[in-house]
Each structure stands twice: as C-alpha cells, then as structure tokens.
C-alpha cells in the first residue's frame, strides 16, 4: 500500500513538473538554443538556401533573438510548421517564438493565449495570375478558381472580398506552400491569392517566373510579426525590443560593418549598451543589442539581403520603410 502511495505521489510530482513552465528566457538559456517556428519554405522569409542554411527576413529575427539571449545568432533550432500547426506548436511550448509570416489579428491576440510582439513586415493580400489570362484587375476574376493556403486569414479575406464584389468563385485549398504553387502551375486554379510579399516570393520559384503577374489590388491589412506565449512579460519584452533594436539601428545608421566604430552620439551609445542599463532591465547581457547588430545587422540590411530590390524577390520598402522615409516603421526610443 505504501509503495502505491509513494508511486502516486511521485507521479503527481512528475506531472506537476510539466505543469509549471519556467520562464522562456531561462528555458532558452538552459537549452543553449532558441526554438523558432518558421514556414515549411517561403523564399525571402524562411527558406533553406543552397548551403543548407535557413535564411530570410523571419529567420534573421530568430537569429537576432538568439544573439540577444545567447550571444550567438547561430544557436537557433528551426522548426518548420504548416499554417494549421503553428499556434498549437507555440501554445504547447514546442517552440519559443513563432516567426511564420503570421498576421496579427484581435482574435489571435486575445483568444489563443498568445501575444504578438510587434510587426516585422507590413503586408496585404493580393492576387497572382498567369499572364496569358490577360487579367489586369482582381475585379475581372469573377467565376475564377483560387488557390488558397489552408487555415489562413487569406480564406476569410477572399470570402469577404467576393461578397463585396458580388462574385462567385471556387477554391482549391492546400496545406503546404509547395502544393499551392504546383496547383497554380498545373492550372488547378486561375489565381493564387495570399499576402503580396509571398506572391512575389512564390513567383521567383515558378518554373517560368515571367509567366505570372501580381495584380495591383490589395484587399486586406496583413501586419506580420513575431508571436510569443501570453503571460511571460519578460520574454515578450525581449522579442519586442530585439525587433526595435534592429529598426532603431537603421534609424541611427548603425550597421553590422560600423557597429564597432566608437561613436559620440549618446543615442547610439544607449542602443549599444555602452551607457545605461537597458540590457539589465530586459534580463540580458549588456552586449545584447551589439550582438544583434554585429551578427545579424539592422532592419535595412536584413530587408535588402532577403527580399529587397537586389534580390530575385524584388520588393521595394514601401510601407516597410522608416517613418521618416515615408513608411510606417517606427520604434519607441531606447531610453
């Protein structure tokens, strides 16, 4: 009898141990690596390059968080997720941060036990069609078939848009980006609809990129950003300010090349942790922001390297320029 009591007491402890989730920062530092949820492969945002390395705008933010918390941007474990797996993976603690081109909405923010820690790309839903269809505007797509990724805000926006325009349509719904693309290529659908950035990225991976055009219409607001679990304010702050550090570095003109030069600007010195206790407040090393900029670079560097006009994806800064350059990217001050 005693043994059984002991056994059940022990099992109680074991299960309770799973219950109490330690704070994410300690977890990450104890593991020595950051688990980052990314796409199953989306050029420019998170994809594997020729050298078998993950690259992209989202991947850079993963690396920046690793640089800030572990001092090494390479200590990231990438977990590729489909759209429908992503929130469960974060809720269950399988990943520490979700950077999977995820749209910030009220429902997701308030009902999933998750919190969006900022916006690293301002996007909007658009349409891509085969050039030979001769379609110039989305309103001409009456009666068309659309390829859609399952479990996304895209499905909802498309339904709303069709209702407003009063047109009938068909859908071909797929789980992975690869299947969506191949369905578009074989002609299963007339138009592929998703966030515009993704359309440009997908277009580069078509067998003949010039055979498809992205229509000018934008039918929704899609602010994409990093997501963390709700209730861990410390970790939330770290993710939010890692992104802010990259934006502020661009604003102050600090790049990975110039970060080692000493500066007289007190703003730069505060950003780099030379003065003030910013790192300590976040629970991080003093050199957290220096590591981000040195190892990953500022927002502009990351943008131009992954999706900018000199890459095959060829996206101009547009909304994603700093506020002083006509965009809406704006970081609160490092003070």
């Amino acid at each position: 009898m005693n043994k059984i009591l002991k056994f059940s007491a022990a099992s109680l402890l074991v299960i309770n141990g799973l219950n109490a989730q330690a704070d994410t920062l300690s977890d990450v530092q104890a593991k020595g690596s950051l688990s980052c949820g990314v796409t199953t492969g989306l050029a420019g945002f998170s994809a594997i390059d020729k050298n078998r390395k993950w690259v992209g705008l989202d991947v850079d933010l993963c690396r920046a968080i690793a640089a800030a918390t572990l001092g090494d941007s390479e200590k990231v474990k990438y977990v590729p997720l489909t759209a429908k797996e992503r929130f469960t993976a974060l809720q269950s603690g399988e990943i520490d941060v979700l950077l999977r081109v995820t749209t910030w909405t009220l429902t997701r923010d308030a009902s999933l036990g998750l919190t969006f820690a900022g916006v690293n790309y301002y996007d909007g839903q658009g349409f891509m069609v085969k050039k030979n269809l001769g379609v110039k505007d989305a309103s001409e797509l009456h009666g068309a078939t659309f390829c859609v990724n399952k479990g996304t805000t895209t499905e909802l926006n498309l339904a709303d848009y069709a209702k407003e325009e009063g047109f009938k349509y068909n859908t071909s719904i797929t789980d992975t980006i690869a299947q969506t693309r191949s369905n578009f290529e074989t002609g299963r659908c007339d138009s592929l609809t998703t966030d515009q950035s993704r359309l440009y990225a997908l277009r580069t991976t078509l067998k003949d990129p010039s055979s498809a055009v992205v229509l000018p219409n934008v039918i929704s607001k899609e602010p994409l950003g990093p997501v963390v679990r709700q209730g861990d304010g410390k970790w939330f702050n770290i993710v939010r300010w890692t992104l802010n550090a990259m934006i502020t570095a661009e604003e102050l003109g600090v790049t990975s090349a110039t970060v080692d030069k000493s500066s007289k600007s007190s703003e730069i010195n505060r950003l780099l942790g030379n003065t003030g206790l910013m790192g300590e407040y976040l629970g991080l090393d003093k050199k957290w922001s220096y590591n981000i900029i040195k190892q990953v670079g500022n927002y502009s560097e990351s943008f131009e390297r992954n999706i900018g006009v000199n890459t095959p994806i060829n996206i101009t800064r547009g909304l994603n320029a700093l506020w002083k350059d006509g965009g809406i990217l704006y970081s609160p001050p490092f003070r």
Partner: protein
Amino acid sequence: MFSFLYNNKIRFILFQVIAVLLVTYVAYYAVNNLNYNIERLGIRSGFGFLDIKAGFDIAEHFIAYTSESTNLGAFYVGLTNTIVVSIIGIIFASVLGLIIGVARLSNNYLISKLAETYVEIFRNIPILLQILFWYNLMLISLPLPRNSYDFFNGIFLNLRGIYLPKPIAETGFSWVIIAFLLGVFICFFVKWFFNKKHDETGVKHRTWGYYLASLLGLPLSVYLLLGSPIHFDYPALQGFNFTGGLSFSPEFLAIVAALSIYSATYISEAIRAGIESVDKGQKEAALAMGLTQRQTLKFVLLPQALRVAIPPIINQYLNLTKNSSLAAAIGYADLVGVFSGTVLNQVGQAIEIILMTMAVYLTLSLVISLGLNVVNYRMRIVGANE
C-alpha cells in the same frame, strides 16, 4: 492485523479496486491538468465558437452553406462530405473487390495472374501515397477547362473536375416515383403469391419477368406517358470555369479512386477466402441430392461462404471510412480538412475541435461495427452454439 490480505477473495477484489482507483485518478488528473493549463495560458475554451460566423467558403458541399454560416454549419458540411466519400468509396470498393476476388479464382491463367498482380501492388503501397499519386496524376494529365475532354456532348472532364448534366425533375415526376414504389409492392405480392403456389402444388414458376415488368416497365411507361418530366441542366464553359450541371472536384475523384482501389484489394481477398472455405465435397453432395446449380449456390455454397467473407469485408468498410480522413492531405473538404483544419485555425481551440472530430469517427465506426454484429448474428450456424 493485515492477515485479511492473505484471503484470496479479498485480495482478488482489493487489486481490482486499486486498479480502478488508479485509472480514475490518472484520468481525473489529466483533465484537471488540462483545465489548469488552459486557464493559466488564457486560451479560450468551451463550445461557444460553434455559433460564430465561419467567414470562409467551402468549394464542395452537399448541404446549404455560405461564408455567412456558422462554424457548426462548416462542421456539418465536413461531416456530410466525409460520409459521401465513404459511401461512394464503399460501393466502388465492393464492386471492384467482387470482380477481382472472382477473377483470382478464375481457371484462366492470365486473368487470375492479373488479379493477383493488382492485389499485390495496391495492397502494399501506403494509402496516403496512393491518394497523392492519383491526385497529382490527374492534375498533370488532364487539360485546362477550355480544352476539356467532351464525352457524349455534355460530360466534360478537365483538371478542375468532372462536369455532368444535372437531371432536374419537373412537375409530374413524383408520379414516376409513385409508380416505382407501386412496382416494389407488386414484387412482394408476386413473390408471396408464387411461394404459396409452390407450397401448395410443388410447381416452381419463373418470376423474373414479373419483377422486370413491375420494377422497370411500370415506372418507365408512366414516365413516357407524362411526356418525360425531366430536363437536364448542362454544364457550360463560362469565363474561367464550367458552370451549371453536377460537378465533382479532382480532389473528390482522387480520394474516391484511391480509397476504392486500396480497399478493393482486401475485399477481394476476403471474398476469395470465403469461396475457398467451402469444401468441394459440399457442392458435389448438393448436386448429387438433386439440387440444381442455382439452388446449390443459393442454399449451400453462398450461406457458408458469406459467413466467412462478410466480417472482414465490413472491417474494410470501417477502415475505408477512417482512411477517408487522409483526404485532408489533398485539400478535399472532409471533416478533418474543414473542421480540424480551417475552423481549428480560425478559432484556435484545438482540444474541443479534435475531441469532436474524434467523436465523429468513433461514432461512425461504432455504427458500422453494430451492423457487423447484426450480420454476424444472423449468419451464425443455427444450432451450433445452442
């Protein structure tokens, strides 16, 4: 003091009580733990989401649904789509399985070898791969809508699906249905009448002529008399796609093809086993007793063969229904795709949604098992166990 522990009876009960307590405790703890964590993480719970507007469209639905419908509506769409695919799959798998099973027993070397090859190939490839194979094959090999294959000037096949003329009943068609029901009634009467005559005089009559006349002739003549009260809605190419008519998507066709072809292999084996299980001597004995070929088959061979074949066949129906959940892999709007796919992602309540989905499959399987038990009971050898 603990001497009662050495009493076998008490010991026997005690261990069972302990086992039950442990299981209850673990279950209670798991549920409690779940509730605690949901609360702690601030995840919404409960079934309120079922009444919220779904907001997305579903391409293929057999019941009324728009993006204005609720998530519960989407659940029903997924459920009916799953049931439709399962039923159609079961029908095709049974027919194909019967043909292959009989073909394997054929004395013709080529036919039996072909059947065997079929079984060995399709039984040994995972069903998911077969689904993806048929789907991608269809997408690659079929033409675009404007170059559709046209069969009989009204059936169109392209990579967006198959489009059939849709029969639409006009007023007066209900008389044809009434005539058919009357025909069924007449059949029963004819059967009763001739059975009685057989009992009285011992003379057997051929009855199939009466059956044919009442089941087919009667409704057909009513149909023609009323001036063919059916017209067809033909599909037509309009803009990007065919509109009108009756259409099935390539996803639907691929999943039905894969499920039928896969399950047919097992069903054919069950049928073969059933037929081979009846000893050759039984047939010879029946014929020697003066039964005709047909009577031998009907009264001696089939009842015994079916008793062996039917339980595994119904098990395959059960498997087919469960396997239909793999349709989600190619984007067919079945329960898993619509409900634990899209709805789950929009509302994020994984636990409730997965539980509901599991409950549906459990219910479907239990209903089929119940059918199996009824059949088993009726097929048992009467007298053997009494």
